[in-house]
Symmetry: C2
Subunit: 302 residues, 2 copies
Amino acid sequence: MSILVVGSVFFDSIETPHGKIDRALGGAATYFSVAASFFAAVQMVAAVGEDFPQDAIDFLTQRGVDLSGLQIRPGLTGSWAGRYHEDMNQRDTLDLQLNVFKDFRPQLPASHRHAQYVFLANIDPRLQLMVLDQLSAPGLVGCDTMNHWITGSRSELEQLLTRVGILVINDEEARLLSGERNVVRAARRLLAMGPRRVLIKRGEYGVMQFSAESVFAVPAFPLEEVFDPTGAGDTFAGGFMGELARSGDTSEAGLRRAIVYGSVMASFVVEDFGMNRLRAVTPDEIERRYRQFVSLTDIDGP
Amino acid sequence: MSILVVGSVFFDSIETPHGKIDRALGGAATYFSVAASFFAAVQMVAAVGEDFPQDAIDFLTQRGVDLSGLQIRPGLTGSWAGRYHEDMNQRDTLDLQLNVFKDFRPQLPASHRHAQYVFLANIDPRLQLMVLDQLSAPGLVGCDTMNHWITGSRSELEQLLTRVGILVINDEEARLLSGERNVVRAARRLLAMGPRRVLIKRGEYGVMQFSAESVFAVPAFPLEEVFDPTGAGDTFAGGFMGELARSGDTSEAGLRRAIVYGSVMASFVVEDFGMNRLRAVTPDEIERRYRQFVSLTDIDGP
């Protein structure tokens, strides 16, 4: 089963204490698509400029990403430049040029309208709603958002939350959106806003999943070095939705395994700059790290 | 098998956003002993003043804590007063009176010198070494420490670490002692200093165990409300060492289960002020929460 993702494609210039990279392929839809492509076929809907290079198109196509929904528009692809602090948990935006992304209006090709697995990456909730309106009968819809929309487009976001099954959000955003400092109370409030499941990403502390019936917590993979945290959350979402589409198992157990696959993919992406590690990782490495996650968390022994 | 613990017994006056409590029974050895007493008999070595009340002695005795190593000395029991910040992760010490604890020199009764399970709670590493010198052939020794000794008594602490099997420490202390910011690198450095296992307590994010062979991570129990975090780390250590003494199983699997029992006890103690919740909790509740931990962390389903 394939996955539809709608979101941003950007060029990222990133500086961390470990070095820097200039105008690397990035954006939420890109990280999501590449991570998900290890598990299932992906349909990506986004907008780039005429400067978008052929090698990026070739790379995505070779990874099984269907680009028939990618709008190539007059002008330049969006770009972002950021610098991470010494402890990697904070970053400053040095430059942001939305360019053609500014007027992005998602248009789904006919072939995308029957998508069963859909992920609405972090964009204006009006656009996320616009995507939902173009879908015939989506099976499982996940979405992300960010502080900018939580404070600036709250009513649209609240409307969106009544129409998605899974909210994937980081802890800071969960606090802001719920008005609750405690993560458990925050999750309960978010569940009351509509989604059947809330996944809270906690960076180096892993991920928690909340539903009305149960709570699941998985740690992040213990890494000696994080080179570049950019895209970790979108990569997590890609591995998570990818595994759900691959297995077709949306039971509690299926979702938990998908959360671990998401965590596996996120643990790889931060090991190198930008998308470099995702370009090199193999299915065998993914399965091996999945088993390491089982060993890391199994109370009855490694 | 019984457990020997050496550490502080204090009166705590605590203020949190949820309320306050005055001169409640506290101190590392007390929290440790009460938590461990649900699993095994405990021998407590500490010093209190002549003001130490009979009802505290009765309470500890009823919990199966052997007080023959408790020195009752002329003067007052130590006392501490602290106030937690709104987010409960930080606290200010408002007052500290060491009183008789200032000249505490641990003296083990003959009956304690063959102890197999020993925990050296956070005290001057010189005193921790003094305890080890009085033991004939301890099986498993755990220890805790704090910033004060890491910076002020480093060489004694390093000497101690060559003689203990398990270091139980929080993440901030692990960073300070190792000089490494990353938790995995910090743990590797600490293992190189002597202990076979390093347990790093991460507050609301749970506990990680490192050895040369494996890593284990368990989340904290998701609570909607933390009333008072005082004693959580010592309560964790008490449940952990208590379960090891009860099971006699120091295999990797046995240690992991003991870490979960420690986490269970810590999750109870923070639900009420001071030791109140530990006074009320039942063995059935402990077993039920242990099963909830299994469900919370099991990748293959709740």
